[in-house]
Amino acid sequence: MMQLAIPQIQKMANTIRMDIINMLEAAGSGHAAGPLDLADIFATLYFNVLRHDPKNPDWADRDILVLSNGHCAPVRYAAMARAGYFDVSELKTLRKFGTRLQGHPERTRLPGVETTSGPLGSGLSQAAGMAKAMQIDGQTGRWVYCVTSDGEMNEGNYWEAVMFAAAHKLHNLIVIIDRNNIQIDGNTEDVMPLETLRDKWESFGWHVQEIDGHNVESIIDACSMARAIVEKPTVIIAHTIPGKGVPFMEYDYHWHGGLIPTPQQAKDALTRLRSLNGKISGDHD
């Protein structure tokens, strides 16, 4: 299992962003904003935080990562490919007939996906069930990480799981919220306001951290602290910019899932990403 240093993780996140643009363009459909803004978190998880073995997805001692907002599957697939779960060339099969990379992730199709998700609000319950089973078996040194969106907190099922995890003191459960402030019909605070999010979670009995979801060091530190908290489960509210890394998509909820970059837009996005956001340039650009 590899553990990259911070600059390498940042570079990997950039690579994952390029993979996402390529995947969506090849697929002709899918979700852009969420996967892009989760690239730093997924790069950090797969290349530093998680105890896992890409060559052994069923390794009994592994940490488990549940992606509750399953529509963000492209970022997971890209991270898995780069980590060595399967060949990068398979990424272009996203959403195509016969693919292992289904539009929303399915456990039985792709080893390493851990569980099926897509319908929002149910991932945390599954993650809590996994953590509960570990607790019953007295397993230590293993964690269940659950990435969720903010919009899916509209679902009642989500809060059932929040209450359950606190009641059962599932300190081996760590939630990372992709707080990008968007959902399909608009900004979260216009559609169904979530604030004050920190207060809600604390009152439900969770330990709360808030971080910049694009700062790799912060992500690593937050996860370390989460593992150290033993009286309650931890939630990390990761503030993110939807569409991060692709300037014409950033902050715009329309890129949640209804739009796919046109070939020219994809080219522009990739050029931007390849230049590490303008830091370097090449003759061919």
Partner: protein, 329 residues
């Protein structure tokens, strides 16, 4: 085959017990045999009969409170870790309230979670229509990978529970609230996927599931007095259906009535009609709830009111024989 039924079917003094109790015993036994069995409940531990398991194995019993979506989904998460979860509430709430979570996290995900829907049917009684779940058969049989079992009595419920515990598949077990006649014995065969001809006949086949099988047997006794030879087919496994046994009976008798304590729309009778329409086409009379909700009342008076007693079955059989020729296919 000798079905080893009791010898006092139809008698007033026949032993009565709710099939939930059989599930409770079966769950405890399953838990004793396999320490990966866990039980999850949504605030109904006593009435779902999970209490004996919870008492014996407190560390393997998980209370989720009144949260049925979380109930089945936490179950799916535990199954991911190798546990064999039984999750229970009233059928109106599981699968009623959490059908999508069952679909996605248990069926599509292919996790061997056992959903136990207690208090199914109108015999729930005074609680009324909101709690009398009638659509659960339709909901569950439409799901790929789901096994659906409705045991006839408490003895069969215990066997069904043990069988489900070992089948490594998503499964649904349908139970009643009210007491019902205990008419099978420990020697009565039970196997998931198997239907049983409890009584041979030639004029008409009555196919029943769950609580209605006993009523069908009592009806058959009445019909015998009128010179009618009735074949009674007990179908505890609604999915997968035992096509061989069912089609053979249908072909032999040429007339079929089905009975269920559930909506006939997309229910047990529909499953039979679907099968026969493709293999041995004949009219099938489906007895059950005729697209209506239940209401408050005592179980016995509700069953009478909605036409689900042995008398009603016998009357329907007479009518069907008068109306219908025999379709020997």
């Amino acid at each position: 085959m000798d079905m080893h039924l009791v010898d006092n079917i139809g008698a007033d003094g026949i032993k009565q017990e709710s099939n939930r109790k059989g599930f409770g015993r079966g769950l405890l036994a399953a838990g004793q045999q396999n320490d990966q069995i866990v039980a999850l409940c949504a605030d109904l531990t006593e009435s779902t009969q999970m209490a004996p398991f919870a008492k014996e194995f407190p560390q393997r019993f998980v209370q989720v409170g009144v949260a049925e979506q979380n109930l089945v989904t936490v179950g799916a998460g535990m199954a991911a870790m190798g546990k064999i979860p039984f999750v229970s509430s009233y059928a109106a709430f599981a699968p009623g309230r959490c059908w999508e979570q069952i679909r996605t996290t248990i069926c599509l995900n292919e996790r061997p979670v056992k959903v136990v829907g207690s208090h199914a049917g109108i015999s729930v009684g005074p609680d009324g229509a909101t709690h009398q779940m009638l659509e659960d058969i339709a909901l569950m049989r439409s799901l790929p990978h789901m096994v659906v079992v409705a045991p006839a009595d408490s003895v069969e419920a215990e066997k069904a529970t043990l069988a489900i515990a070992a089948n490594d598949k998503p499964s649904y077990l349908r139970l009643s609230r009210a007491d019902g006649a205990v008419f099978t014995t420990k020697d009565t065969p039970f196997k998931i996927g198997q239907a049983y001809v409890l009584q041979q006949g030639t004029d008409i086949a009555i196919m029943a599931t769950g609580s209605m099988t006993y009523q069908a047997l009592v009806a058959a006794k009445k019909l015998a007095k009128d010179g009618i030879s009735t074949e009674v087919v007990h179908v505890p496994t609604i999915k997968p259906l035992d096509a061989d046994t069912i089609v053979a009976s249908a072909r032999k008798c040429g007339r079929v009535i089905t009975v269920e304590e559930a909506q006939i729309a997309a229910g047990f009778g529909s499953a039979i009609a679907e099968l026969l329409s493709e293999t041995a086409p004949m009219p099938v009379k489906r007895m059950g709830m005729q697209d209506r909700f239940g209401e408050s009342g005592e179980p016995a008076e509700l069953l009478k009111h909605f036409g689900l007693t042995a008398d009603h079955i016998a009357m329907q059989a007479h009518g069907w024989i008068d109306q219908m020729p025999q379709y020997h296919r």
